[in-house]
């Protein structure tokens, strides 16, 4: 008897991305079911972030298609934005809003019923409780990264997209992040993460895509090997 395959949250088919009409990497094709995670790995400039942006609808692909839950991606649809939580490398803050107020903004904007409990819990989890009432610009770069991660988790989602989330994080927070992403999978969420961190990759990813001139789907073990110095 064949085991029932979980439904695909994300389906990427022959996706080509680039700038001014020129592809930055080979075509990507993969599916990401619910409760699974997929990592994008590759050297700097290989096209991981560009691929993520195209998947999120923030960049027009040169060719190919991206479907979220069976529907072509269009970030202008509110339902798409409600399903996908993305933590990119943004570092922009409302000048008058405190750390906690940024999280309330996201939680309330997504219709989270008990926003205060959710915000308090995430502030505590990411070690920001003592900084709840300060402006994000007063935080260290690592703390601001933690705030961005908290903002990505304070809202409901079916797909969590992270672009090099390990950047600027200390070892303990990287471990917390790995635990959080595994919990995300267990709860039925799908995780797409671009990373350079072999530990995070090994702890979280079910499969990986090596992004480069020939973008290809590989096992996690092969991707971890590829992250060794001198391989990619």
């Amino acid at each position: 008897m064949s085991r029932a395959r979980p439904p695909a949250v994300l389906r990427v088919s022959k996706l080509s991305v680039g700038w001014t009409g020129r592809p930055v990497c080979g075509q990507a094709s993969f599916t990401l079911p619910a409760g699974r995670s997929l990592a994008l790995v590759g050297p700097n400039g290989s096209g991981k972030s560009t691929l993520l942006r195209a998947i999120l609808g923030l960049l027009e692909p040169l060719s190919g298609s991206v479907q979220l839950l069976g529907v072509e991606v269009d970030e202008r649809r509110a339902s798409f934005r409600a399903q996908v939580s993305a933590v990119l490398d943004d570092d922009a803050w409302f000048p008058a809003l405190t750390v906690a107020e940024h999280l309330y903004l996201v939680a309330r904007g997504h219709g989270v019923g008990d926003a205060q409990d959710e915000v308090d819990a995430l502030l505590d989890e990411f070690g920001l409780t003592g900084h709840a009432d300060v402006l994000p610009t007063a935080l260290s770069s690592g703390q601001r990264r933690r705030l961005l991660l908290a903002a990505g988790l304070v809202r409901p989602r079916s797909l969590l997209v992270l672009d090099e989330p390990e950047q600027r994080l200390d070892t303990a927070t990287r471990q917390l992040l790995a635990e959080r992403l595994n919990a995300e999978k267990e709860a039925g969420g799908a995780v797409l993460v671009a990373t350079h961190d072999p530990d995070l990759l090994a702890a979280v990813a079910d499969r990986a895509v090596i992004v480069g001139d020939e973008t290809r789907l590989v096992s996690t073990a092969e991707a971890v090997d590829a992250l060794r110095p001198g391989v990619l």
Binding site: A34, L58, R76, Q83, A92, F94, P95, L97, L160, A187
Partner: protein, 526 residues
């Protein structure tokens, strides 16, 4: 929006709030943390209105006082002031649509792009105030220009009707740019705006050559203005309805440009403003790279690089070409012809052309890394950068002063003056390009336009100061209407001083140097 089922996240859900409530949340929190209240806001608005009003009244008064002279020789081709004003309105439309296209006109930059755009709330509601602000700005800017022109140009249409008509047209122009942003891309609005701007000098030349001499400007009846207003309002409603269709990537791009441009305006940095409005549309890739065969040594390398920057910037080439025709246009408009107007046209148009030639230096000031790679001292590098602006501006001055010479029926002395005066602009171009930013950490001076740092005016004057000194003899010649031989000699000296001054690597102001000298003398006495 109906609630969307998500696999992960807080279980307790409420309906997604309206965009307006998100904006209000931000506004309420900002008010809570702000130091100023409604009184401060009203005070700012009051001062802004007063400043604009005073500037408009001064411009109207000054334009009304300008003397008008009959040409010394008969000219067969001419246009009227009203004809020229119509051309100015064409240029205004181009500038408005082009600027609106470059700024979006609808955008979401910085925090708005990061925190608002991913929310599942109605995006239209989030963007509406921004769109409304840009449309209103188009109307107000047009009304200000129309007020000055309506009162400065005698006769014809009533000023009220002119101002109302142009303001409505300004609103319509921004709405058109907004609709183009929704349907196609901001680049189309930019091209349309640039096309209209380029059409303005062509129209001016056609008006002169065709001796088009209308007596009034835009004699559009009230019902016509009402009709245009109805179209503009209809377009604005259509734009509002379509705001949610603008992709986030375009909103982010436009927002980033608007934020950079606003920052440049607030910090009084015109170079940064130019980069904000121009870089987004610059080509990021060339079909092939040149082999640089002309380069043989560091000086040639700099000259070739500067020339390439200029040659690859059609906007700047157009700016130089169009401004060269401005003095000729003034001479071809009998209602406007006067030595003061001519001198003003020469200096203002020349300054715009000069800024275009200084683009390479402005970029070198921003990122001096390439200059540092060359085996040349700072002063030699700066002097090498005088060459391209010097040559281009000499050609520009030959056209500008040549037309004065033709009008005066004695071109040779004017052409000689142009050859001597032209390089002086290069000094201004370099001094302007390499001026330091105002010191925002120094003491602030309270002005009706807000607090500005001490010495900001001195910083802004760097560049224009060299123009005033270096072009003083040429300007005197334009005002006097003749070129005595002694003046040619004085011009040669003034140009030499302007070139030396403009290529100086000294960044301290005279006041700074005096203060430092005084401090050093004090130390020595101890």
């Amino acid at each position: 929006m109906s609630e969307v089922e998500c696999a992960v996240g807080p279980a307790e859900r409420t309906p997604v709030p309206a965009a307006r409530s998100m904006r209000r949340y931000n506004a309420a929190v900002a008010r809570k943390h702000a130091h100023g209240g409604v009184t401060a806001l009203l005070s700012d608005v009051y001062y802004s209105v007063v400043i604009v009003g005073i500037a408009v009244l001064m411009a109207i008064g000054a334009l009304g006082q300008l003397p008008v002279h009959e040409p010394p020789v008969g000219t067969s081709h001419a246009t009227s002031l009203a004809g020229l004003t119509a051309v100015a309105y064409l240029a205004l439309a181009g500038a408005l649509i082009g600027s609106a296209g470059r700024l979006g006109p609808v955008g979401a930059g910085g925090a708005e792009a990061t925190w608002w755009l991913p929310l599942p709330v109605d995006r239209r509601g989030l963007l509406r105030p921004n769109a409304l602000r840009m449309v209103a700005l188009g109307g107000v800017a047009s009304a200000v220009v129309a007020t000055v022109l309506a009162f400065a140009v005698p006769g014809g249409t009533s000023p009220g009707r002119s101002v109302a008509g142009v303001a409505v047209a300004g609103v319509a122009a921004v709405v058109v740019a907004g609709l183009l942003q929704v349907w196609t891309a901001a680049r189309v609005a930019v091209r349309l705006g640039d096309l209209l701007l380029a059409a303005a000098p062509v129209a001016a030349a056609a008006a002169v050559l065709g001796s088009w001499q209308p007596e009034s400007v835009l004699a559009v009846p009230w019902w016509g203005i009402g009709l245009l207003g109805a179209v503009a309002v209809g377009g604005a409603f259509a734009l509002d309805a379509l705001l949610g269709r603008i992709p986030a990537r375009r909103l982010r791009e436009s927002g980033a440009v608007a934020a950079q441009a606003t920052g440049a305006l607030v910090s009084l940095d015109t170079r940064e403003l130019g980069r904000a409005l121009g870089d987004r549309l610059a080509r990021q890739q060339r079909r092939r790279s040149l082999r640089m065969r002309l380069v043989g040594g560091p000086v040639r390398a700099l000259v070739v690089a500067d020339a390439l920057v200029l040659a690859r910037s059609p906007r700047h080439l157009g700016q130089i070409l169009v401004t060269a025709l401005v003095p000729a246009l003034v001479l071809a408009t009998p209602d406007l012809t006067g030595s003061v107007q001519l001198a003003l046209a020469f200096l203002v148009a020349g300054s715009f052309a000069m800024l275009a030639t200084g683009e390479a230096s402005r970029r070198a000031e921003m990122s001096p890394g390439v200059d540092r790679l060359l085996p040349m001292g700072a002063t030699a590098t700066r002097r090498a950068r005088l060459i391209v602006p010097g040559v281009v501006m000499t050609l520009w001055t030959l056209v500008a002063l040549g037309s004065v010479g033709l009008w005066r029926a004695d071109p040779l002395p004017w052409l000689a003056l142009a050859v001597l005066a032209g390089p002086a602009w290069a000094g201004g171009a370099l001094r302007s390009a390499f001026r330091p930013a105002p010191k925002w950490d120094s003491a602030l001076v309270s002005t009706p336009a807000g607090a500005v740092p001490l010495g900001a005016a001195a910083v802004l004057a760097r560049g224009p100061d060299v123009v005033v000194l270096g072009l003083l003899p040429a300007t005197i010649a334009v005002l006097a209407g003749s070129v005595p031989q002694t003046l040619l000699l004085v011009q040669a000296v003034a140009t030499a001083v302007a070139l030396r001054w403009g290529s100086s690597t000294e960044t301290r102001t005279l006041m700074d140097r005096l203060a430092e000298a005084q401090e050093a003398a004090g130390e020595a006495r101890k």
